[in-house]
Amino acid sequence: MSASPDIQSAGRRQTAALSVFLVVQTLGTVFFVGDVIGDLREDPTSVHFIFEAVVTAALVLGILFGTFALRRTIELLRAQEQALAVARGALSDVIDGQFQAWALTPAERDVGFLALKGLDVAEIAELRGAAQGTVRAQLTRIYSKAGVSGRAQFAAFFVEDLLGAGVPEPAEAAQ
């Protein structure tokens, strides 16, 4: 969870920078177009005018492509955010369902969730305003209901589902 705001703010900075660039580019181009139209009324056959018109056309094309690229970047960023939110929601659904299957009490659910987030006994006790001994006892009950040996296995229970590939057999690995 801690990594995503960084990705988001980096993406925001990137799109903001691109947008500022696009605005400056548009300002320059509009002034240029005005100048070209002014020249057009004076002498449309001069080399100066033709050259300036070509440069201006290139600038206009640049803005159109820049706009399109910026749109793509913004949409990509949003798609990533959405995918992350879906994955997050799915994982918390899985955890909720499993906690229910283990028949954890509401207090045990809270403690179990905090333990999964990586908080240690002292931190959980402080957050919940409970004694450390209580939290330790709750954790022990959680582990026994889940049939795991301890915190590492408890956390692995949920991560394992996310890792697609199975663990290679020792014999296979040796070959």
Partner: protein, 211 residues
Amino acid sequence: MATPRTPAAPPSLWDPVVRITHWGIAISVLANAALDEGGSLLHVSLGWMVMALLVLRLVWGVLGPGEARFSAFPPDPVAALRHLGRLASGRAVRHYPSHNPAGAMMAYAFWACLALVTVTGLVMTSGATPMQVAAEKAAVASGDWSALIKESEGESSDEDQGLRHTAEEVHEVVANLLLILAALHVAGVFVETRAMRRNLVAPMVLGQRRK
């Protein structure tokens, strides 16, 4: 292209192009209306800036992401009136993926007025870019009045003068209309914020502050 989403609410943060063009135009219009003198270099430069920002916003309305595109908030006066009626009678208002219909009409009215005000401004200055205005003013300041003579004598057909006079009238009326629209716009945001219990200002600034 990503699949178009149809969220139930406007974005929690408008994209940077929408925000930059919004505040750039707002500040430039207020400055040109209240602070500087019509015809001054600053006035003309800000006018050109408004034109550039308007062009960018209109291009963005075709090429931009979903909620910034015109297709997300088509002009629909009937829906706008219905929306306002609901607001006035205190009934629950629908949430829209982009501007609500009344806000959309406001945006189109703004754009029409901005286009009109810049075009009439261009007619009044006969399309002089800020660079040309600056050069002209520098020439006059250094005692070379030929720039003015060329201006008033070279193209002083009656038709031209008439057109410029009309443009001046329209420029002034539309500029005042813009200020009225801006006041209505601010009032609308205030009412909508209270009726929908949703902050409409934050998405146009920096979005919700994250922890």
